[in-house]
């Protein structure tokens, strides 16, 4: 019988693929963002704020943050799987990482939609 560990790998292509897809999404956002900064750099606080008040930019930034946190989860989980061997400690670390990333997601939404 295969020994399954609750904090082990889930033997999936899904996470591997999600890490790559979120990476591409972030790369596209960063390239577009760098382009905006080069072509028409926002002036002062008003310009900087207006950039993210634009509905398209707000949504794109939101998608960027979701990709970032999802990507970070997979990366951090990989690190925990490599270096934290005891199941209980690894599970605790994974739970903390997930909670932190979910909290960041809520925080990012609050920042973007309170502009």
């Amino acid at each position: 019988m295969v020994k399954r560990v609750v904090v082990g790998a889930h033997y999936g292509l899904k996470d591997w693929l999600a890490q790559r897809i979120t990476a591409v999404v972030m790369a596209l956002y960063i390239a577009a963002f760098a382009g905006i900064l080069l072509i028409c750099p926002p002036q002062g606080h008003e310009g900087w704020r207006a950039l993210f008040q634009n509905q398209f930019m707000r949504i794109a930034t939101f998608v960027f943050f979701i990709s970032l946190f999802w990507h970070a989860w997979i990366g951090v989980r990989d690190i925990f799987m490599d270096y934290i061997q005891p199941t209980s400690i690894r599970l605790a670390a994974e739970v903390v990482a997930v909670l932190v990333l979910v909290a960041y997601t809520g925080w990012a939404i609050q920042i973007l939609w309170s502009l």
Binding site: R20, A23, H45, L68, A72, V100, A108, S114
Partner: protein
Amino acid sequence: MMSARTRPKYLDLARIRLPVPGFVSILHRISGAALFLFAGVLLYLFQLSVQSAESYEHFRALAGHWFVKLFLTGMLWALLHHFFAGMRFLLLDIHVLGDLRQARATSWIVLAASLALTVVLGACIW
């Protein structure tokens, strides 16, 4: 041949000499971990910069401190290295530039490009 169980471990980190691609790989992990650890600080700084005119001034005052500049420069390098090394891994995934000579060359390019851009963009911070 020794069995896997009795085989001695040789993990003296100070004496392990990684090949360049291995060096880029471990830096990709370290930079990713650093970005995760300080993501909250970066999100907070982003919030200050967009929230209001007062918070923007607070952000500018904070960003004027040498220690914050140093921190941001470090984060900039971590982001750039993670970005370029990540691009390289994506290419390797689709079997581009994967033979040994190319893998070494692209590793040097990743190291050089992220350091060079850190200097160029870091100059804007300082």
